[in-house]
Symmetry: C2
Subunit: 419 residues, 2 copies
């Protein structure tokens, strides 16, 4: 069987499983999730053993320390993964939810009702836990998942997949609802990206190289974000104490996540008062490199020179660029020019400035007086997320179970014919 | 300037206009629509004169009578077009609508707010009125439109476009918010379909050839339906009088629209009682060719033989295929195998059968005791539609102004940082 035939067979069986899953009641899906979580807990030793094979191969291959850490599964991490799957069972079922109801003058009652999207392809790199997290969320929303993890985690992911399938079987649902591409052949990824007959949407999870490849090659819709070049704008009317706490959190809580602030914009009227204390607080919190424009450097020592490139860079590190802006207009303009439509924030007590910023900034999430690090499905009350999307089609912002659904119109009549 | 440069310049100016339009208040957009409608009414003579040029060229080119009729603009039709544009001004503004509000335990208030999609490409064939209808709906939802009409209607569409742009200018909005591809070169269509930097979604309006080309070549999302192979299933528990009225309407009210019924399925228990009267009623209403399976032909004279191909054919004509089914399962299975995910109907007084049909049939619209001809944005209360989509991404079913929006999350804090 050629690789293309293998992939088509995979897609076909996923499509069939998706149909069964789309009709499964909430209780049955939750039973599968609970059973999968139990299987993961029961098989900690197997997962650790498989992970050791992956870790050894990774070490021999010369993977970086950071990559090996992402690959590593300890018993604690495995239990956390099981708990994550179990917690998805607790979420509201998005399928069948009435999104809108209209009663027409002719008596037709039109309901817009959520239905599953279908088959979701998830392409990820070294983190083997995505196997459980992403599959659980797809299953919750009644979708089938086709997983394609990195070759580095092939053995670890394999055992986790077995646990997910055990859960499905235990609830009398088709194991084909969660499958993986059975080869580490990179060509299979290209095929998955073009299988529009069998795959409804692709969610890539990983580094910029992966996302770029997926965005370029995919012939099916993609939920993704390439960058998180997020700004915090400290307005003339900001509470500077609040602003200091927020920018330290937005930059330093975790520097490697997509919701981290990468550029701070400061209104010129408060720059002299705010910047010295903000820089001190950021440095104290461990921010190693602060890169400012000329005006910033004229006000604060210990700030290196930002170049044009800095405004377009996602550091994902203890690095921050700083620019002093003339006014709100320049701040909005900077954000819309250099931002990546992910998460932007304004700190101000001026309601009209906040409203303008939130209206005019083109981003999935626009915060007022809060840290950009809140850009997360869990923090938004979605319970879990499969990723964050910056596109405008279908899902924007955190992608939770509800965003993994489509809808249909269910119309009740009493014999109406159209005049 | 190369054609590609021309198209890029067009896309760039549309993107800039879309930004302006996205921030325009409802009143200003409505003012533009009202002024555009007035301009169309005022320039009836100009539009008729331009249309005469197109009609003469079309006649010389040998266009069919049906195509010439689609191309023709009479003063009455032009006034109806103006009224259509004016009526879009009366609709609710979808932009800025709060779709969902969440208050988090930490006090963050998260609102999901509708925003425009951006730039919408509309590719259509001979009907020049699409120039006004589609542009009006895009404008209402704060989007810029790039129009690409058929070459046959180039002169007629040109004057209508001038009216739309006059309306925009009259409301102090950029005329670039509604533009058209300035050439009839077919290559330009291919470029438009791939301009993902400047075009957010494509809406094709026209025959199957056009839709197929767009679906195959597009590298940007498409809202469309290829077929409307719609079924009406007359269940064992149907009110046969109601069923007769509904199937006659679903087939014969207008045979050429995408919501017309193409196949009738009848439960075996009522076939003997229902089919003779239904066939008689359909024939009396002008249905010229009824093609039945063997069981149907055994019950009714005057029915020709359906072949396998009939179940997959959208006639768009006074032709109907008829099949007798064993039970609800077979009906659902037939619909999911041969349907085009557009509009399906069940006629029954058995609520549980209706619920099962509506849940298990995979279609944008699933009707109970009503005619499939209600598949229309106007009938759904949307006021106007730009088309009907059968995909699962973003918009499904009638695409009105609300479906031409995306959303952003607007988050209000009081200084929250993430623990």
């Amino acid at each position: 069987m050629s690789l293309q035939d293998t992939m088509n067979a995979l897609g076909k069986s996923a499509r069939a499983a998706a149909h069964t899953l789309s009709l499964a009641p909430a209780q049955q899906k939750n039973q599968a999730l609970t059973a999968a979580a139990a299987a993961i807990s029961r098989r900690v030793a197997d997962i650790v053993a498989a992970n050791e094979i992956d870790m050894q191969a990774g070490a021999e291959k010369g993977l970086s320390k950071a990559m090996l850490d992402r690959l590593l599964l300890t018993p604690d991490r495995i239990e956390a993964m099981a708990a994550g799957v179990a917690s998805v069972a607790e979420l509201d079922d998005p399928v069948g939810k009435e999104l809108e109801t209209t009663e027409r003058p002719n008596g037709l009652r039109i309901r817009r009702v959520a239905v599953p999207l279908g088959v979701i392809g998830i392409i990820y790199e070294s983190r083997p836990n995505v196997t459980a997290d992403a599959a659980a969320l797809c299953l919750k929303a009644g979708n089938a998942a086709i997983l394609r993890g990195g070759s580095d985690s092939f053995h670890s992911s394999g055992v986790i997949l077995e646990c997910m399938q055990e859960g499905l079987r235990g609830a009398d649902l088709p194991a084909q609802a969660v499958q993986r591409v059975p080869t580490v052949d990179r060509e299979a990824v290209g095929m998955l990206l073009k299988m529009s007959e069998y795959v409804d949407v692709i969610v890539p999870r990983g580094g910029k190289g992966l996302i770029e490849r997926v965005q370029t090659e995919a012939r099916v819709p993609v939920f993704s974000h390439l960058d998180g070049i997020n700004h915090t704008y400290v307005d003339a009317q900001a509470d500077l104490g609040m602003a200091e706490q927020i920018v330290v959190n937005a930059k330093m809580r975790r520097t490697g996540i997509c919701g981290a602030m990468e550029t701070m914009l400061v209104h010129q009227d408060v720059a002299q008062q705010f910047l010295p204390r903000a820089v001190l607080a950021l440095k104290s919190a461990g921010c190693e490199d602060i890169r400012g424009d000329e005006a910033t450097r004229a006000l604060v020592n210990d700030v290196s020179a930002a170049t044009a490139k800095d405004w377009d860079t996602e550091y994902l590190d203890s690095v921050l660029s700083v620019r002093i802006v003339r006014d709100l207009d320049q701040a909005i303009n900077h954000v819309n020019t250099h931002g990546s439509h992910h998460t932007e924030a304004i700190i101000t007590n001026d309601t009209s400035a906040a409203t303008r910023f939130q209206r005019e900034v083109d981003a999935a999430i626009v915060m007022h007086n809060a840290s950009t690090q809140f850009a997360d499905g869990g923090e938004f009350g979605m319970g879990a997320e499969i990723g964050i999307a910056t596109g405008r089609m279908h899902a924007r912002g955190p992608v939770g179970a509800a965003q993994l659904t489509s809808y249909k119109y269910v119309v009740e009549g009493t014999g109406q014919v159209r005049p």
